[in-house]
Amino acid sequence: MIETKSAGGPLVGMIRSVGREANKSYAFVERGWYLTKRYWAWELVWIVYNVVNALSITFIATVPSVHLTPAQVNQFILYLAIGTAVWTYVSVVFDNVTETVTMERWEGTIEYTFMAPVSRLTHMLGTCLFALLHGLLLTALQLVVLGLFFHLDLSQANWGMTLVILLTGSISLIGLGTVSAVLPMLFTERGAQMAYIIRAVMLLVSGVYYPVTVLPGWLQAFSKVTPTTYMLDGLRQSIQGVPVHNVQQPATISMLWPDIWPLLICGVVLIPLGQYIFHLAERYAKRTGKLKRNG
């Protein structure tokens, strides 16, 4: 049963090592699941909070107005519902990543995680993957509850494209999640709260509850480099449809391409950038003795 490096040629070796890394990544997913199970009360609080939050914002769309036709009201409801859903998704992902790192700092397990023969990419992919799955599940749940309160007009949705936007957007979230994990690693006490800043800025500039065009020009510049802007726009188009000669039509890939390519570029840039920033922070922590539990 002794394994040899060369058995089966380089390709098999590569597949094997990818498999091994995947198994290691799964360690973080499984751990996330265990933790969620044990902290189920928190989970409940979190679900209720997000759903109530989404409801209270979506009700804004139903304020009586002489300017809107019933169809437009329905569009507005869906507009806000998608905004709150994406916001929940992003929040859950960020909170999950920062909270596990915070917990690792408090419990002292971070030393054991960092001592293990696991690349930081595998580590962060695994941690973020669980956060993404977790976020997706909570968001879906939230949308179901919203569907009970409002008429969500999904007749023009292109679900295939919705999935494409969701996946390409999530790549960027892994990058940003990695960056936000740095904060609780370096600042045990307030790191998780500091990560709120990244989120708050995203909330402001990426058009969660209003089109980015209402922002002053200099803020719109930030919108252009924030992946959630494209994610929201892409998801809205793919779920609500796109008006063609004043009639909503399901979006096609060519209509969504202006959102897809920026998301791909953000992902390609943010994952290595996140890794690099994490690497710098880890080095700093190892030089100054910051990984140790009690200072």
């Binding site: 040899t4 751990r31 100054t288």
Partner: protein
């Protein structure tokens, strides 16, 4: 430091010579080897651990204290030389004990070896792999038990250990079986293995921490006060385990402890560190003889006396120091 050099040289002959046996890294029940045949063969060509002139300091922001000497101290910062120019070689299959007072730098030394701290100066090599530049290669060979059992307390021992096992590439099924095997051997009842760890006593948590390290069958095991807080029987169980890991898996062990009996029972050689420096290094017997000679005793000195001699913590000296402080 002439004494130190002497001691280093003297100590070499007392190394166990059983370093050439063919290695087989399998704990009972371990089916998947963590190292390939080539990697195992390569291990033989190196000492387990070579620490070469390693130093590590920390800056402590000690509040705003005026009227202090020194540059760094001007700004209320205090520099702690936790590890100060340590040079030490541990051979394959050796159990090396490190003794020293609180704050003498033992844990810092272990963190430097376990890739958790980057040395300011000097190099650390584990089986020829540099801990800074070949981090991953080192990590596959080592594991560590620290004095505080660090776990996700809400999770069960099983969940915690499965997580670690996966990180080291051990398949879950195999790990699960081993977790039960190791923990029952350490006297943890099977039904506790699935309950949250926070309900366990400190000693029991420490056993789970020990199991975490044994699970990966490390070839260099770093034990930082592993038995602190354990009852005498459990201490013995752990000691048996440590010896077994050495004897059947060719593991090399670096152990720090405040338990002199344990150090004597387990260690092939003992290093005593004080203020981040190695002040003595030899077999327990040789150290005891030397101290007996120094102090003109007509019997063999105890290891506690050796400790006291080299760490300069005799009561008399302590009192003298206090008087100095008062001036």
């Amino acid at each position: 430091m002439a004494i130190l050099k002497d001691e280093l040289e003297q100590s070499s002959p007392s190394v166990p010579s059983s370093l050439t046996q063919p290695p087989e890294i399998k704990l009972p029940g371990r089916k998947t080897p963590l190292l390939s045949a080539e990697e195992l063969a390569e291990l033989d060509q190196h000492d387990a651990l070579v620490i070469d002139h390693v130093s590590k300091h920390f800056v402590k922001s000690g509040g705003m204290r005026l009227f202090r000497r020194g540059d760094a101290q001007k700004h209320g910062h205090k520099i702690v030389r936790a590890v100060d120019d340590i040079t030490l070689t541990i051979h394959r299959r050796e159990i090396m004990g490190v003794l020293g007072s609180n704050g003498s730098g033992k844990s810092t030394l272990i963190r430097l070896i376990s890739t958790l701290l980057i040395p300011d100066k000097g190099t650390v090599e584990v089986f020829g792999h540099n801990v800074v530049t070949e981090e991953r290669a080192v990590q596959r060979l080592i594991n560590r038990v620290s004095v505080e059992a660090a776990f996700f307390r809400k999770l069960s021992p099983l969940e915690n250990l499965l997580y670690s096992a996966r990180l080291y590439g051990i398949p879950a099924g195999e790990a699960r079986q081993q977790v039960f095997e190791i923990l029952t051997r350490l006297g943890i009842k099977p039904d506790r293995i699935r309950q949250p760890l926070e309900n366990m006593s400190r000693g029991m948590q420490q056993k789970v921490a020990i199991a975490r390290a044994f699970l990966t069958a490390p070839i260099l095991l770093l034990l930082d006060e592993p038995t602190t807080g354990l009852d005498p029987r459990s201490k013995q169980d752990v000691q048996v385990f440590v010896r077994e890991l050495r004897d059947t898996h060719d593991a090399t062990i670096l152990l720090t402890t405040h338990d002199m009996d344990e150090a004597e029972a387990l260690c092939d050689r003992i290093a005593i560190i004080d203020g981040g420096r190695i002040v003595a290094l030899d077999t327990a017997d040789a150290l005891k003889r030397r101290v007996a000679e120094q102090q003109g005793l007509d019997r063999e000195a105890t290891l506690t006396e050796v400790f006291m001699t080299y760490t300069g913590r005799d009561w008399e000296e302590d009192e003298a120091e206090e008087e100095d402080d008062d001036e």
